[in-house]
C-alpha cells in the first residue's frame, strides 16, 4: 500500500475520518445511530465500486474512459429480467452473459477499432454515443417499463448488535448481500489478473500497447476480453441494482455516481475503485444525514463530486492512480 505512505493521501484520509466522526464529537448523534448511517453508507459505497470497477477495468486495458458503463448495466439488467420471464434463472444469466460478450465484440469491431490511436477524449465522446445507443436500443427491444427483478436476495433488514447497544443497529440485508457479491467479484478479478495468462496479457496491454503487441499479444482480442469482463461486471451490478431499485431507466444514471468514485480512487487502480467507493458512499450518507438539513437537503447528488474534486485539486491523479507525466 504505497499510496497510504504519501503524505497527501494520508492527510486526506485522516481528515475524512475526522470529519466522519464529527457529528458524534459535536453531540449531534449517538454512536449506534451514527454506526447505522455509516454502515449504510459503506454498503452503498460497495455498490458504487461495482460500477466503478467496470470503468477501471476498461480504462486500464485500453485507455478508454467508458461512459457507457451505466448504459451497459441497464442493458444487462433489462436483458436478464426479460429473459427470466421465459426461462429459468441460470439459463437466463448464461444467455445474458453471452449477449454481453457479443456486445463487447461489436463495440470493439465497430467503435474502437476504427478509432484506434485517437486521443482519449475522442474515445470518451464515442462511448457517450455508445451509451445513448444502448439506452435507446435496450428500451426499444426490451420495453421501457419498470420491471422487478427477483434473484432471491434477502429483502428484510436485520438488526445486529442488539446486546451491545440499546435497540441495536439496523442493517439492510440486501445491501449486505450485494457487498459480499461485490467482494467475491473483486477477489475473482484479482485472481484472474494476477494468476492467469490472459490476465497477465491484459496487464501488459495496460502498461504499454506497443510493447505488448511486439511480444505477440493480440490487441483486438484483449480488448474484446476486457469489454466482456466489463460486461460481466455490468451484469452483476445490474442484478444488484436491479433487485434493489427495480430495473428501470434510472439505473443507467447510477454510472454518474460511479464517476467521482473513479476520479477519487484513480482511473488505473482496482483497489482505488473499492476505497473510492467506500469513501464516497460513506461521505454521501453522513453528509446527507448530518450536514444535509443545514443546506436544505438533497446534497447527496453532488457531495461525492465535490469531495472528489477537492482531492483532485491537490492530487490530480487520484488516491491510487499512477502519476501522469506530460512530455512535449
Amino acid at each position: 500500500m504505497d499510496a497510504l505512505r504519501r503524505p497527501v493521501t494520508a492527510t486526506f484520509l485522516v481528515l475524512l475520518v475526522a470529519a466522519a466522526v464529527m457529528p458524534m464529537v459535536l453531540g449531534q448523534a449517538k454512536f449506534p445511530q451514527w454506526l447505522e448511517v455509516a454502515l449504510g453508507g459503506l454498503l452503498t459505497g460497495v455498490l458504487y465500486s461495482l460500477v466503478a470497477l467496470g470503468l477501471v477495468l476498461i480504462f486500464k486495458a485500453s485507455g478508454v474512459f467508458n461512459f457507457a458503463q451505466g448504459a451497459m448495466v441497464l442493458f444487462a439488467a433489462l436483458t436478464l429480467v426479460r429473459l427470466m420471464e421465459k426461462m429459468p434463472l441460470a439459463l437466463a444469466i448464461v444467455l445474458t452473459l453471452a449477449i454481453m460478450i457479443g456486445l463487447a465484440w461489436l463495440i470493439e469491431r465497430l467503435v474502437l477499432r476504427p478509432l484506434v490511436n485517437q486521443e482519449g477524449i475522442v474515445l470518451f465522446m464515442a462511448t457517450l454515443g455508445v451509451a445513448y445507443f444502448l439506452d435507446g436500443f435496450g428500451q426499444a427491444v426490451w420495453g421501457s417499463d419498470i420491471y422487478t427483478l427477483h434473484v432471491g436476495m434477502p429483502k428484510e433488514p436485520k438488526i445486529i448488535l442488539e446486546k451491545v447497544f440499546e435497540g441495536g443497529v439496523l442493517v439492510d440485508m440486501e445491501d449486505f448481500t450485494a457487498a459480499i457479491i461485490a467482494a467475491t467479484l473483486v477477489a475473482a478479478l484479482m485472481l484472474f489478473f494476477q494468476k492467469t495468462a490472459t490476465g497477465r496479457a491484459l496487464r501488459a496491454v495496460a502498461d504499454d500497447h506497443q510493447a505488448a503487441q511486439s511480444v505477440g499479444i493480440p490487441l483486438n482480442r484483449i480488448w474484446v476480453i476486457v469489454w466482456s469482463v466489463a460486461g460481466l461486471v455490468a451484469l452483476v451490478a445490474g442484478i444488484v441494482w436491479g433487485s434493489k431499485l427495480g430495473v428501470q431507466f434510472s439505473i443507467s444514471q447510477v454510472a454518474l455516481k460511479a464517476l467521482p468514485v473513479v476520479i477519487l480512487g484513480g482511473f488505473t487502480s482496482i483497489p482505488g475503485a473499492i476505497v473510492g467507493g467506500l469513501v464516497i458512499g460513506l461521505g454521501e450518507k453522513l453528509s446527507e444525514v448530518y450536514l444535509g438539513p443545514a443546506f436544505g437537503g438533497g446534497i447527496e447528488g453532488w457531495f461525492g463530486y465535490v469531495l472528489a474534486l477537492m482531492f483532485l485539486l491537490v492530487r490530480p491523479e487520484g488516491l491510487f492512480g499512477e502519476k501522469i507525466i506530460d512530455r512535449v
Binding site: 465497430l110 475522442v122 457517450l128 454515443g129 455508445v130 445513448y132 445507443f133 454518474l256 447528488g301 453532488w302
Partner: protein, 354 residues
Amino acid sequence: MIYRETGQFKTTYASDQQLFPILQDRVFVVGALAFAFVAVPFLASDYLFRAILTPFLILSLAALGLNILVGYCGQVSLGTGGFMAVGAYAAYNLAVRVPDLNLLVIFVLAGLCAAVVGVIFGIPSLRIKGFYLAVATLAAQFFLDWAFARIKWLTNDSSSGSVSAPPLDIFGYTVHGPAQKYLLVLAIVSVAALLARNLARGAIGRAWMATRDMDVAAEVIGIRPLTAKLSAFAVSSFFVGMSGALWAFVYLGSWEPLAFDVNRSFQLLFMVIIGGLGSILGSFLGAAFIVILPLALNQLPTMLGIPLSTAMISDIEFMVFGTLIVFFLIVEPRGLARLWAIAKEKLRLWPFPH
C-alpha cells in the same frame, strides 16, 4: 465558377485581415442575414418560428459558447446545462428584484453572472484535464441543479424552483408573437456570432487554440494557461448564460431547473461534435441538425405509414443520436462544418478540377 477569389488582391493590411476575406463569402453572409431578418418573418409560419427557428437560434448560441470551450480551447465541459441555468435564473432574479431594468441589460448581466460561475468551476482545469475535467464539470452541473431546486433565495421562494418570466419589454415596447421573438433572438445571436468570430481569430483565440493543441508547448512559447483557460471558460459561459436566459425568457416562458439538466449538457456537446469542433458555422449546423432531427423522426413513421408509439420514437431517437456521434467521430471528426469546407474547396476548382 462563381466561387473563386481570382483577381481579389489584398493591397492593405485591413483587407488582408478582414472577417471574410473572400468577396463571395461576404456577399453570402450579408445575403443570409438579410434573408433571415427581412424575408423570413414574412415567409415562415407561426409553427416554424415556435418549434424550429427560435429554439434553433437559442441553442446555436449555447453551442457557440460550448464550441469556444471545447472546440477552440480543448476543455471538455459537461456542465453546459448548469451554466445555462445560471443565466436563466440570474435573468429571472434581475427582472424580479430590479424593476425597470432594460431587458437587453438583463440578458447581458445574466451572461456575466454565468461567466463568473463558469470561471469558478473552470479553476480545476488548471490542474486537471481531459476526462478528469469532464467529470469535474459534471460536478458543476449537479451542484447547480441542486442549488436552483433547493436554495429558495435563488428562485424567489417559489416551490421546487419553477418560475415564470415577466413580459419582454424593450425600450417601452413589448415583444410578443413568435415572429417578433424570433427577430429579437436573431439580432442577439447575430451579434454574438460576430463577436465570437472576431475573438476566435484574434490574439485570445490563437492562445486558446495553442492551449488546445498542446498546453505544455503553449506555455513554453509564452501563453499563460491561467488566462487562456479561464478566459475561455468566461467567454464560453457568457454565451451559454445568455442563451440560457433567452431559452427561459423567450422560448419557455416558465421553467424549472429540470429544463437545464445533464441531458441538455449532452445535447449541446452532441451539437458541437456533429456540427464541427472549432468552427463558428459548425455550432449553427449542429444546432440545426439536432433541433430538426427529432421532429423529422417524429414525422417520418407517420409519413411512411408505420405506426410507432411515442416511447418507441424516443428510443429510436436515442439510438440515432448515439449512432451519429460514433459515425461522425469515425468518418468526419470535424463535423458538418468540415463537409461544408470541402464543398467550398470543390467549388473553387469547379468545373476544371486540375
